[in-house]
């Protein structure tokens, strides 16, 4: 088992390196010159050349790559082109906000979608199941930006209950934070619950047809106990695969929610950096997202290994 996990960790590191290289290669193709875009129109040839030299832009590609990678390994992501502040510092103020948003939404979305998925898998083709399926399909087929827009429309524009803009940095006290967070969390949860509930249902229906679930029922367990204690734990593998997809949906949901609510998070920063071509910030953001994503998938993977006695006892 230890070997298996070590292998996964090693592969994870290798993947991360590959992703970093990919981010560098793709964003390095940026047309135009970073130095020129910092100095703007008024740059003289000398200052431009000086800045280029200072930024190492005249170095060969391989050397720039090595510098960049070396910097990242030491936590140095460079300076923001937009305001000249260290990228690490800029990100440091934004990352906690995004984590709060994603974390709170996950806390809402997971129990709700598990409950919906389990309830509809227990009674397939019932009225409840059909209704849940219909709503899930609708949520799944609606772009996150529309879901976010509609929540603004309903809870803010029409009813005026909650603020449409969520500047959490200015929220006061716990109540204030809650008020500010309510709409973004609602919008983000809504955009992932559909997918997660549908996957839970599909996975569980497969699991419920296993003979050992029938055995449990014939032992005298209730269907709910059979589903939760007997079927679900064996579904760790498929759940891991599904959770990777859900995470993908969650991250892209975060992008739109932060933009629409003007929420000062990391994805908002990234969208802005793409628009202003703030290369170092964008690279750092992309790397953080990929790393976070990979780490979560890796953790889920390891949990799946631990949940499977066959893999646990192997090697």
């Amino acid at each position: 088992m230890t070997r298996l996990i070590a292998k996964r960790l090693l592969l994870g590191l290798l993947t991360l390196w590959l992703v970093a290289t990919l981010v560098f290669a793709v964003s390095g193709a940026l047309p135009g010159d970073a130095a020129a875009s910092i100095l703007g129109q008024d740059a003289t040839a000398e200052t431009l050349a000086a800045l280029r030299a200072q930024m190492g832009l005249d170095d060969p590609l391989a050397l720039r790559y090595a510098h960049w990678l070396g910097g990242i390994l030491q936590g140095d992501f460079g300076l923001s082109l937009a305001n000249g502040r260290p990228v690490a510092e800029v990100i440091g103020t934004r990352l906690p906000n995004s984590l709060l948003l994603a974390g709170l939404s996950t806390l809402v979305a997971i129990p709700v979608s598990l409950a919906l998925g389990i309830a509809s898998a227990m009674r397939p083709d019932s009225v409840f199941d059909r209704l849940t399926t219909f709503l899930s399909v609708l949520a799944l087929s609606t772009p996150s930006f529309l879901i976010a827009t509609l929540t603004v429309l309903v809870f803010s524009v029409w009813s005026g209950l909650l603020p449409a803009l969520s500047n959490i940095d200015r929220a006061e006290g716990f109540g204030g934070t809650l008020r500010v967070m309510a709409l973004p969390v609602l919008a983000l949860s809504l955009s992932v619950i559909g997918q997660m509930a549908r996957m839970t249902r599909a996975i569980l229906i497969g699991a419920l047809s296993e003979p050992y679930v029938e055995t449990a029922i014939l032992k005298g367990t209730s269907p709910l106990r059979a589903a939760i204690l007997h079927a679900l734990p064996n579904m760790a593998g498929p759940i891991v695969n599904a959770s990777a997809l859900s995470l993908n949906a969650l991250i892209s949901g975060v992008v739109f929610v932060e933009v629409i609510f003007a929420y000062p998070g990391l994805t908002k920063l990234m969208v802005d950096s793409v628009a202003t071509r703030d290369l170092p910030v964008m690279q750092a953001c992309a790397l953080i997202f990929c790393a976070g994503f990979l780490i979560l998938v890796l953790v889920a993977d390891i949990v799946a290994i631990l949940a499977n006695p066959r893999l646990r006892s192997a090697g």
């Binding site: 047809s209 296993e210 055995t215 032992k219 005298g220 367990t221 734990p233 006695p309 066959r310 006892s313």
Partner: protein
């Protein structure tokens, strides 16, 4: 109450699907306390469905539509969901066909057994664990105090099946249902498991319902036998009576099919040339080690030869390497060592890609699972037509005509040519499978467990067909099977494979009469016989 039978089923009807097709029709029977009643029938006879209905349970898609079910003074159909939960596992418990699938792979076995007790509050956790160990001992499991701590994948199939019985017994139920509990086991393992079950049933004085398709097994276990066909009772009689004086025609047919048979084999000239000669085959899986041998060897130094028009039977338990041998010869698994001649020409055993088309044509294989051996997206005509075009270049009208002839040869109606595999029954699929090999006009056909997935009567018909084709076409067979009865029925010579090595080879007559190797002796002894009391005899000898 006192006069009523312990189990009483009246007019039971069970439907399936949206169209409410009746899969069990008006079934009635009774059982006295302590009696073992067997439900016997082919697949689709409704025997498991009836047994499960005693627990108030119908599989998804099925509905108990009519009739009364009384078990131990309970009207089962009148129980609500909570009542059923208290009833199941406590008053009636269940031993499933495949314990490997019926145990939760993610739980320790002991936890699953103990759950059955704590769920009903019959005893505390510690007491249940103690009783679990005691039951493990009753069922003759090794290391009874500790074995429960393992996971299902860490014990053998025979052990797991007995543990399933331990789980069923933990609450000391009134009734226990055995649903084909030994079907997935090797015969030599089956004897021990049957012995353990019988001792347990007697010792605990439970009433048992025993579901099986195997009359030989049922003859050992049952006091009373119900014969079922298409969801209806054909005959219901005391076991000895039914076995000796069957009344229903269907029962007679079933008994006839279950008796050991020796088909008359076509005469082959004594000096017939060998079709296939094999020497020193060693093969396995997992890449080659430094000594040039596979890391996980399955076969060691196998050699034999099959003369024209004869059949060599290959018998062994699961894991003995018999199917691997078939796959090596077919070119699906490369051999590490060894050589083979087909009709005197060298057959490449290491790299099948280098085989000549003629080699491939002359050596054909039929697979066990007829279901997966036919492409579901092709019609029978396409399936049979491909080898005709591939080997013989037949096109158009000639091909269509030949397909019809092939269907005739395997005794299938010609109109099935247009059907897809999904429209065929198991026996029909296996015949199409056979017809596909015949299309090649082979010299030797490897039959890999071709009858294992079929009902007894259907399987016998396929064996008869194989012999008839041998007579008509002069075919040779390598007949791979775990079933001594089938091997004896149609093979002139039999080779016994044990742990990848040949342990005995003999003519079919001398093999059963006078087995030499200890494994062969055990195998011959372990085949259930229709005679009641056979199990006790075997036990006494062992």
């Amino acid at each position: 109450m006192q006069d009523r039978p312990f189990i009483e089923v009246r007019g039971l009807t069970i439907t399936a699907g949206r169209d409410r097709r009746q899969i069990v029709r008006d079934v009635s029977f009774t059982a006295e306390k302590g009696e073992v009643v067997a439900l016997i029938g082919e697949s689709g006879s409704g025997k498991s469905t009836i047994a499960l209905s005693l627990m108030g349970y119908a599989r998804p898609g099925c509905t108990i539509a009519g009739g009364t079910i009384r078990v131990a003074g309970q009207d089962v159909r009148a129980l609500d969901a909570a009542g059923l939960r208290r009833f199941r596992g406590k008053t009636v418990s269940y031993v499933a066909q495949s314990a490997a699938a019926a145990f939760n792979p993610g739980w320790r076995i002991r936890s699953q057994i103990v759950e059955a007790a704590t769920l009903h509050g019959t005893m505390g956790k510690a007491e249940a664990a103690g009783r679990e160990a005691a039951l493990m001992e009753t069922l003759a499991l090794p290391d009874p105090a500790q074995i429960g701590a393992r996971y299902p994948h860490q014990v053998s199939g025979g052990q797991l099946q007995r543990m399933m019985a331990a789980m069923a017994m933990i609450n000391a139920p009134e009734v226990i249902i055995f649903d084909e509990p030994t079907t997935a086991l090797d015969v030599t393992t089956q004897v021990e498991v049957l012995r353990a079950f019988k001792a347990m049933v007697k010792e605990q004085g439970v009433t048992a319902i025993y579901v099986s398709h195997d009359l030989g097994v049922v003859a050992q276990m049952a006091d009373r036998i119900l014969v079922l066909k298409d969801g209806e009772v054909m005959e219901n009689a005391e076991a000895g009576e039914l076995l000796e004086r069957p009344r229903a025609a269907f029962t007679k047919g079933l008994l006839e099919a279950s008796r050991p048979r020796r088909l008359e084999l076509p005469e082959a000239p004594a000096d017939a040339p060998p079709v296939l000669e094999v020497q020193g085959i060693t093969a396995g899986y997992g890449g080659t080690g430094p000594d040039g041998l596979p890391l996980y060897p399955v076969l060691h130094d196998i050699g034999f030869s099959i003369p024209r028009g004869r059949t060599l039977g290959l018998i062994g338990e699961s894991g003995s390497g018999k199917s691997t041998l078939g796959r090596v010869l077919a070119g699906l698994v490369p051999a590490a060592k060894g050589s083979a001649l087909i009709n005197g020409r060298e057959l490449d055993l290491r790299d099948a890609a280098r085989r000549r088309r003629q080699d491939r044509r002359e050596l054909q294989i039929v697979f066990q699972m007829a279901d997966t051996a036919l492409n579901p997206r092709q019609s029978v005509a396409e399936i049979l037509g491909r080898p005709l075009g591939f080997y013989h270049g037949l096109r158009g009208q000639a091909r269509t005509g030949r397909v019809a002839e092939l269907l005739d040869m395997v005794r299938l109606p010609r109109h099935l040519a247009q059907a897809g595999p999904r429209a065929l029954s198991g026996g029909q699929k296996q015949r199409v499978n056979l017809a596909r090999t015949l299309a090649a006009e082979p010299a030797l056909v490897i039959c890999d467990e071709v009858t294992s997935a079929l009902d007894t009567v259907v399987a016998n018909a396929v064996v008869e067909l194989l012999v008839e084709l041998q007579r008509e076409l002069g075919l040779s067979y390598l007949f791979i099977s775990h079933d001594l009865g089938k091997v004896e029925a149609m093979c002139s010579e039999v080779m016994v494979l044990w742990k990848g090595r040949e342990v005995e080879r003999a003519a079919r007559d001398s093999l059963t009469r006078d087995p030499q190797h200890p494994y062969t002796k055990e195998l011959v002894r372990a085949v259930p016989q229709l005679r009641r009391g056979w199990l006790e005899e075997v036990t006494a000898h062992g």
